[in-house]
């Protein structure tokens, strides 16, 4: 085969340009830390990494949702503890007042105390975090409870339903606890209404009706039990959120690892490849300079 000048030079430039382009790719990979820079480098990995990035972003959003739920959980815990404390005090009062030896003036004083407890409970029912009344259900931007100061009757303004919050792609959990779940419910087969019970108890004390006060003792006991049940529920709820948060963190870590494996460059490998290429490049230049000195022109008189 005849080797001609023009083609020889074309071959040199083609060889150098191929090597340069390969070195350029490696330089970009090392500089960016990614082995997949554009989709065509590895379409499947690039696309999978896009999905993972989206999943990571979603996962972060779910973590944010869970953190806000966890904070809510703490507020409910505190509120229910307050309710429990008040009811325990009321129960002690009821035990004292149920004795037939208590006189009318003591009972009347106790009735005033009960009124103040009702007001305290209503205040707990109107616990506000930011602009949200946490016991309002789906109407949480207005006071959950209205207290009639004359009759001491309490009206619930919220809803039984509560909004849901997504905590992963397939699960939603209650975003809040409705006041109706906290202040009313069923215990020991009995319907319980904390505000109604206390209002009744206050009236019975004012009326100095010993039998009725003694009867109220059972209802007040049910109120305490209801609150204990609710506290247990909040405990489970908070635990559930914590466990979802743990899962969320694990998922996040797994996603990051998967992404790293898919698109991150193996620096050692890239460096070694670069060395190989640069050696080849030097060799090509050496061969070029040697071959070019071989010309008949060097041996002809000028």
């Amino acid at each position: 085969m005849r080797v001609t000048d023009s083609f020889r030079f074309q071959t040199y430039t083609a060889t150098l340009s191929t090597l340069e382009s390969q070195m350029d790719t490696l330089t970009n990979q090392v500089a960016s830390g990614k082995k997949v820079l554009v989709p065509s480098d590895d379409p499947a990995s690039y696309a999978r990494n896009m999905q993972i990035t989206a999943e990571q972003s979603q996962n972060t959003q779910y973590a944010s949702n869970l953190n806000s739920l966890q904070a809510n959980g703490a507020y409910y815990q505190t509120s229910l503890n307050s309710i429990g404390d008040i009811l325990t005090t009321v129960k002690q009062l009821a035990v004292q007042m149920s004795s037939s030896t208590v006189d009318a003036s003591s009972r009347s004083a106790a009735a005033d105390q009960v009124d103040s407890y009702i007001q305290q409970l209503a205040a707990v029912g109107n616990t506000k975090v930011g602009d949200t009344y946490i016991f309002g259900g789906e109407k949480a931007n207005g006071a959950a409870y209205t207290l009639d100061s004359t009759t001491n009757s309490v009206t619930f303004n919220g809803t039984d339903n509560v909004a849901k919050v997504a905590v992963n792609t397939s699960t939603t959990v209650d975003a809040s606890i409705s006041g109706n779940t906290v202040f009313t419910g069923t215990v020991n087969g009995q319907n319980v209404d904390i505000f109604a019970t206390l209002q009744q108890f206050g009236n019975d004390l004012a009326n100095n009706d010993t039998a009725a006060v003694q009867a109220d003792l059972t209802d007040i006991g049910n109120c305490v039990d209801l609150t204990a049940n609710n506290l247990a529920y909040v405990g489970t709820y908070t635990k559930n959120i914590s466990s979802l948060l743990t899962t969320n963190t694990t998922t996040g870590t797994t996603l990051t690892e998967t992404s790293d494996n898919l698109v991150d460059v193996d620096t050692a490998q890239a460096y070694s490849d670069y060395t190989t290429l640069s050696t080849a490049y030097q060799a090509a230049l050496y061969v070029m300079s040697k071959a070019e000195s071989l010309s008949i022109l060097n041996y002809l008189p000028a």
Binding site: M1, F7, S40, A47, M50, N141, S295
Partner: protein
């Protein structure tokens, strides 16, 4: 036999070697000229003279200037150039498309995720004005990203069209030059000597021409070449060239390629141009880019319509695809979705102020901190977006047996609720029952493997999705049909209950006793135009959409119906992967063509290329011959002198 013969022979030798050296200088001068084929003066003994002792040699003559040209290799190079140029252009354009879709540039996937995450945030605090503001601004960003990508794609189309125009003008120049070279070649032919340089130039032009489009060449009398298109239309005949003309396509506004023959008649040959850069430019402009625009439109349409469906439920409203009330994204009435995607006038008034009250988080008019709308929109992020206009479920043994699932499909953003007692037929009937609003029709198909519900869209822009669905996607292309799993009968009850909502808020109720057939009848009983059709085929429920992605929200129904697909971001990742594969394949093919071309060029260079070393050694050879011939003159002169002296011519001493 005479001394003067020696002088004649010497003269022929001087002349021949001079010609050889002249030819050789031409070679050296053209050592780097593309397409040049080295030439050689072919020497031959001159006609001998008869004599008594036989034929006496008469020196040397130059028979011809031979060109070392292998026309077969040259033809292969021309043909290969079509592939090479075509693939190079395809690679360049696909790389541009890739950079539009490259997530690092577009941030489309990020914007989609962010937008739906914002709805999540809003769902945790449904009355927050800050969260509503974020939803609106990120909705606008998402629209702008999609608009921007759409504009980049159409700009690329315009650029391709510009390249088509310049290619047409380059082809015309080339055709004219080939025709005039034909003329020169015919005239320049002397005896067996051809007009070598003109032939080289013409070969070079033919190679250029085939870089634009596939051509066929036939060499005729006088060495003139006739050039045809790949479909046999004459481009150059003898010394006359036809011309390509720019014909504006009334529909697309782009340039179609016309061929004007010598008599001035123009024929549209756009569809006949294959290969080469011109052929590839036309395919890229008219097919490739449109495909990606359609992918983007599908995504934009699905997001906008699905978000609007739930947004319209806000504050006690009713989804109505025909109305703009309550929409989040501006309903698109004409043109492409991706081009016109924008916040609706309800959300952003004409003066650019965001109306936060119209960012709907709840469907309740009283329960102001309810978040059902925000939650539903946020969950769209996990919807399955099914590629293709037809989607089928996995086959069920019967179309009429209850699927035992609940949830809903969504067609054009309208949910089709499915109850636990629903059968394939019920679902189809439900879909069809609200066809008036959606244009979706449903049918049950009995096949060899069982019954299927098939939903079919009527018009472009319709799409079907499954909310908690039981439909299986057998197609991964861009949305139009959704098919349920097969049932053994179209008439047995599916034991599903619920509503299928289609199109503009119409719904078809499915009862436990409904069969596949009933569902289909109910759906098809309505007349409308959303373009989605339900049907049953092979015991699969199929939803068919004229255009746009079918979305299947994640959950029970999609799991039970065996629908496989991808979320919006997965769908987008799929498109990006498609572009990546196309670029990779174009790059690989270009490399392959380049290698094939290099190999052919090596063959050509071996045959036709100029080697300086070779020319220099030939130069020495001819130079020596020339010197030797010159010496003959001295010898002949000396001989003549000797002879003159011998015959007594006196010379003064």
């Amino acid at each position: 036999m005479s001394i003067s013969s020696i002088l004649t022979i010497a003269k022929s030798a001087l002349s021949a070697n001079q010609t050889a050296i002249q030819t050789l200088s031409h070679n050296i001068a053209n050592v780097n000229t593309p397409g040049y084929s080295r030439q050689e003066a072919v020497l031959e003994e001159a006609m001998p003279t008869p004599s008594s002792i036989g034929l006496m040699g008469n020196g040397v003559t130059v028979r011809q200037i031979k060109s070392y040209l292998d026309q077969n290799i040259q033809n292969s190079i021309s043909a290969q150039n079509s592939n090479l140029q075509g693939q190079t252009v395809a690679g360049n354009y696909l790389t541009s498309i890739q950079s539009i879709f490259n997530e690092d540039n577009s941030n489309l996937s990020t914007s989609i995720t962010q937008f739906f995450n914002d709805w999540q945030t809003l769902s945790t605090d449904p009355t927050s004005t800050a969260d509503k503001q974020t939803v609106a601004s990120d909705g606008q960003s998402l629209s702008k990203v999609i608009n921007g990508m759409y504009n980049d794609l159409t700009s690329l189309q315009t650029q391709a069209n510009g390249d088509v125009n310049s290619a047409i003008s380059d082809v015309n120049t080339t055709l004219t030059s080939i025709a005039s070279l034909n003329q020169e070649i015919a005239q320049g032919q002397v005896g067996t000597s051809e007009a070598n340089d003109y032939i080289d130039q013409r070969n070079q032009l033919l190679q250029t021409l085939s870089g634009y489009m596939n051509i066929t060449c036939v060499t005729g009398s006088n060495n003139m070449v006739t050039v045809f298109t790949s479909t046999g239309k004459t481009l150059v005949q003898g010394n006359t060239a036809s011309q390509l003309t720019q014909v504006q396509n009334q529909q697309t506004g782009f340039t179609d390629v016309g061929l004007q023959d010598v008599s001035g008649n123009v024929v549209d040959i756009t569809g006949e141009i294959s290969g080469g850069s011109l052929g590839t430019l036309i395919t890229t402009r008219d097919t490739t880019i449109n495909g990606y625009i359609s992918d983007l439109n599908g995504l934009a349409q699905s997001i906008a319509q699905n978000v609007n469906y739930f947004s319209q439920m806000g504050n006690g409203g009713t989804p109505d695809q025909a109305a703009s009330t309550g929409t989040f994204f501006q309903p698109v009435t004409g043109g492409d979705y991706a081009e016109n995607m924008a916040l609706s006038d309800q959300i952003m008034d004409p003066s650019g102020n965001v109306q936060l009250d119209n960012v709907m988080a709840t469907s309740s008019t009283t329960d102001t901190t309810d978040n059902d709308v925000a939650l539903a929109i946020a969950s769209l992020a996990n919807d399955t977006v099914l590629g293709g206009n037809t989607v089928s479920s996995t086959p069920f043994a019967s179309s009429a047996t209850a699927l035992g699932i609940s949830g809903s499909l969504a067609v054009n953003g309208v949910a089709v609720a499915i109850g636990a007692g629903d059968s394939l037929s019920d679902i189809a009937a439900t879909v069809n029952g609200i066809k008036g609003r959606t244009g979706v029709s449903a049918s049950v198909t009995d096949s060899s493997t069982g019954y299927q519900l098939v939903l079919t869209a009527a018009a472009a822009g319709d799409h079907v999705s499954v909310v908690n669905g039981d439909l299986d996607a057998s197609s991964q292309n861009l949305l139009q049909t959704l098919t349920s799993t097969s049932q053994s009968s179209t008439t047995a009850a599916l034991n599903l209950t619920g509503d299928i909502q289609l199109g503009q808020g119409q719904s078809v109720t499915v009862s436990a006793s409904d069969s596949l057939q009933t569902v289909v009848n109910n759906i098809n009983g309505e007349i409308g135009a959303t373009g989605v059709t339900a049907s049953i085929s092979n015991n699969e429920l199929a939803l068919s959409n004229a255009s746009g992605p079918i979305t299947v929200p994640a959950g029970q129904v999609s799991q039970a119906l065996g629908v496989t697909g991808a979320a919006y971001t997965d769908y987008e990742a799929g498109v990006v992967s498609k572009v990546g594969e196309a670029v990779k394949s174009a790059t690989d093919l270009t490399t392959y063509s380049q290698n094939a071309m290099t190999s052919l060029q090596a063959q050509q260079a071996s045959e036709s290329g100029v080697s300086i070393d070779e020319e220099m050694s030939n130069l020495i050879q001819y130079e020596n011959a020339y010197q030797a011939a010159a010496r003959l003159y001295t010898v002949a002169d000396s001989l003549l002198n000797t002879l003159m002296n011998a015959v007594g011519v006196t010379t003064t001493t």
